[in-house]
């Protein structure tokens, strides 16, 4: 890499995307992907909080074997609403709509996403879906489980199924539009020199995620629409009274919802690839394998939905095929894990907060993935299906994996997003609290489930109490661990140390512009002459992101003039 030249910074460089314009209107009508990312950040945090409250209610109820805190009907609603909010309104948009929105254009050297107006529209659609869902919760709630299985949802449930379904239907379009925007942006807007194999792995992961979003989400949309009509007008595709098949609903639902679990975890894997390489200060081991394994997961993820129907009247032969394919889909995930660990080998590792989250991800995701293989084995699944073993499995992946990756990424890019550093000490402390609290919450659930504790009941046989007490204790620790970052991140926006352009001294494009970046990201179009994760000798790295002494002005320094 050639040492770039520094030059006089125009006064305009003082202006960044946050202070470029003021007033509510400048935010609500913004077309800047970075501002939209912040709008999303605020809204998903809100939904995460609501989902978290429901989780606390579940754990409180399960402290004792008797159903004493919530009635069974209320309990059904509480776990349903926990699931709906966490899956559709937090995890699915979490990384793509915030970090992805912020970083995809910056990492490829573009000024914005290809369709800024559609990007803003996607946020409004998300909000509309969210408002309708909240209405469903306030009006009386839903009790079908986040899976909405027919015929209970179509015929028997006395709750606000249609409103909740409508909310999910609508918010689905926001994820379709986000995926569409990413795909087009990555194809058409890469800066000169930014070839496909120079793309950061975060981008590959988002590309793969977008594929799943555009291919899967329309299917859940039509499924929910048919479900709503069926409930509303007693027309039937899932209704046995006219010859329909309720299991068709399960097929359609999981055709989306299994790939959707990869919508949640793939972006997180992208974040972890960045963190592992950058905090080991080493090129990632097996770049192409990691990149293509994302695509492989996206493609094969569509072929395994039947592992959710092993005990739902699916033929044994179909079961065997789905079981085999589920084992196959674990291979690309394993490839990633092995490449990450190989990257760590002989790296100069620093244990900053983001890296702690990344290391946590690797361990917890591995446990989640391995137990997925248990579940994918036909005979074992018959035993543990619909028990707490399944609950523990997917929480290891969705919380231990997806959420930890999100938090790691949020800390890592926080200086870029907010222009401020978060307090490192508190960061490391809360990462540890989250890790401990998480394991205490969900490890006992594997045991309880394996011993036969079913999921989705408010009461349980007394011999399971010890596991549930451990789990509830863990949940409160986890809750505290998640509140700490919320507090200090908000605090740091005002009082944190000012961040340099490149606080971690890294080669990625997003670090070669000011923190926070100007509205157009780069004052001049960057020209990429280096590979991803190419760590330059220290003296050259020094130059990058360092500007005139004594000022906090930062501006991009490489590009074609």
């Amino acid at each position: 890499m050639k040492a770039p030249e520094t030059f006089e910074i125009p006064a305009a460089a003082r202006v960044n995307y946050i202070n470029a314009q003021y007033g509510l209107k400048s935010w609500l009508l913004t077309k800047d992907h970075k501002r939209i990312a912040l709008l999303y950040l605020g809204s998903i945090t809100f939904f995460f909080f609501i989902g978290g409250l429901y989780a606390m209610m579940i754990r409180l109820e399960l402290l004792t074997p008797q159903g004493d805190f919530l009635s069974s009907t209320t309990y059904n609603k509480v776990f349903t609403q926990h699931g709906i909010i966490m899956v559709f309104f937090f995890l699915i948009p979490s990384i793509p709509a915030t970090l992805g929105n912020f970083l995809v254009p910056m990492m490829i050297g573009a000024k914005d996403l290809a369709f800024p107006r559609i990007n803003l529209l996607s946020w409004y659609i998300y909000l509309l879906g969210g408002v309708i869902t909240i209405y469903a919760l306030l009006a009386g709630g839903v009790d079908t489980g986040w899976t909405f299985y027919a015929p209970y949802s179509t015929t028997f449930s006395n709750s606000y199924v249609i409103a909740a379904g409508l909310g999910i239907f609508i918010s689905g379009f926001s994820s379709i539009l986000t995926g569409l925007n990413f795909i087009v942006t990555i194809h058409t807007m890469r800066a000169p020199g930014m070839t496909w194999f120079r793309l950061p792995l975060f981008i590959w992961a988002h590309y793969a995620t977008s594929l799943v979003m555009i291919l899967g989400t329309p299917v859940i949309a039509i499924t929910i629409l048919l479900l709503a009509f069926e409930r509303l007008a007693h027309v039937g595709i899932f209704d046995p009274a006219v010859g329909g098949d309720p299991v068709l609903f399960q097929h359609l639902f999981w055709f989306y919802s299994h790939p959707a679990v990869y919508i949640m975890v793939l972006p997180s894997m992208g974040v972890v690839s960045e963190l592992i390489a950058n905090f080991s200060r080493k090129n990632i081991f097996g770049y192409k394998f990691v990149a293509f394994s994302s695509l492989a997961i996206a493609v094969f993820g569509f072929l395994v939905w039947g592992h959710h129907l092993f005990v739902a009247s699916q033929s044994v032969y179909a079961g065997m095929i789905f079981s085999f394919l589920s084992f196959a889909v674990a291979i690309p995930s394993a490839i990633k894990v092995f490449n990450w660990t190989a990257t760590l080998y002989k790296g100069s590792i620093s244990f900053d907060t983001p890296m702690l989250y990344a290391l946590g991800f690797i361990g917890l995701f591995t446990i989640g993935g391995m137990t997925g293989l248990f579940l994918a084995s036909l005979a074992i699944d018959v035993h543990v299906s619909d028990t707490y073993f399944v609950v523990a499995h997917f929480h290891y992946i969705m919380v231990g994996g997806a959420l930890l990756g999100y938090l790691g990424g949020l800390h890592y890019w926080w200086p870029k997003i907010s222009g401020r550093m978060y307090p490192e000490g508190w960061g490391r402390f809360s990462a540890l609290v989250v890790f401990v609290g998480f394991n205490l919450t969900f490890l006992p659930q594997f045991v309880a489930g394996y011993l036969g504790m079913p999921r989705r009941y408010h009461a349980y046989p007394p011999e399971f109490q010890v596991f549930n007490v451990l789990s509830s204790a863990g949940a409160s620790i986890l809750g505290v661990g998640l509140l700490i970052p919320l507090i200090y991140l908000v605090w740091s926006m005002r009082y944190g140390k000012r961040a340099e352009a490149n606080p971690w001294h890294l080669p990625g494009l997003e670090w070669r512009t000011a923190s926070p970046p100007p509205t157009e990201n780069f004052l001049i179009t960057p020209v990429v002459t280096w590979e991803a994760y190419e760590f330059a000798p220290p003296e050259e790295m020094q130059v990058i992101g360092k500007f005139r002494e004594g000022t906090d002005l930062d501006a991009p320094i490489i590009g074609k003039s």
Binding site: P218, V242, G243, G244, L248, L252
Partner: protein
């Protein structure tokens, strides 16, 4: 930095019109892929139940109006032709041609919707609207000639699939008509020419797509059991 004066239609975040056009076109293709998946769910349900209840589906299908369906197919194919001509006129800068072809396409689209409305009305008169879609007017298959082995409730299933698929298709037609009206308005004001015509092109893509959906719907829904009826 600034090169030649940029075209007024060039948005600030694109380098040039070529890039903007590529993005717009790819965006529409990606969107159409999502549409295929969306309709795919219904095609799946259709395939499943048609295999399960062939006689009922054939009986119900035979009751649809073949002449109206055929005319509508012709109307849509013709509208795709005029749409293609509109795109061509935009690319070659023929303003009058653009306006005429877009107007014709719009007209044909509206004709399709009108004929569809007549068909829907016939089904209403025959009590063939499934479930409680029309409150107080339950489905009644007694007017449908049942082939041997056909069960009435499965005839109702066919009609729900028919209404779901053609209804969703009609919704897409209505959106298309709206889209083309906007394009027609700007075309009349001379916005599109050889340099900049991407909106016309991608609206054309959308229009052709909606046509193709119908090209699949027509044989699947209208023609599937004609040979069984004597």
């Amino acid at each position: 930095m600034e090169h030649k004066a940029s075209h007024p239609a060039l948005q600030h975040h694109f380098e040039n019109l070529e890039q903007q056009r590529e993005a717009g076109t790819l965006g529409m293709w990606v969107f159409l892929v999502t549409e295929i998946m969306f309709f795919g769910g219904m095609f799946l349900a259709y395939t499943l139940y048609r295999t399960k209840y062939p006689q009922a589906f054939a009986s119900a299908s035979n009751h649809l109006s073949l002449p109206l369906g055929t005319i509508n197919t012709g109307v849509l194919i013709l509208s795709s032709f005029t749409m293609a001509l509109a795109v061509y006129s935009a690319q070659t800068g023929k303003r009058r041609g653009q306006i005429v072809c877009l107007a014709l396409t719009l007209l044909l689209g509206l004709t399709f919707l009108g004929i569809k409305a007549i068909e829907y009305h016939d089904k209403y008169v025959d009590h063939l609207i499934p479930g409680r879609l029309i409150p107080g007017r339950p489905f009644d298959a007694s007017g449908v000639h049942l082939l041997p082995g056909a069960a009435k409730q499965n005839v109702e299933m066919f009609y729900w699939i028919y209404f779901a698929m053609t209804g969703m298709h009609a919704v897409h037609m209505i959106i298309g008509v709206g889209l083309l009206s906007v394009i027609l308005y700007f075309a009349a004001r001379g916005r599109y020419g050889p340099e900049y015509h991407n909106p016309v092109e991608i609206s054309g893509l959308y229009w052709h797509f909606v046509d193709i959906i119908w090209i699949f719907l027509f044989p699947l829904l209208y023609l599937l059991g004609r040979h069984l009826e004597h």
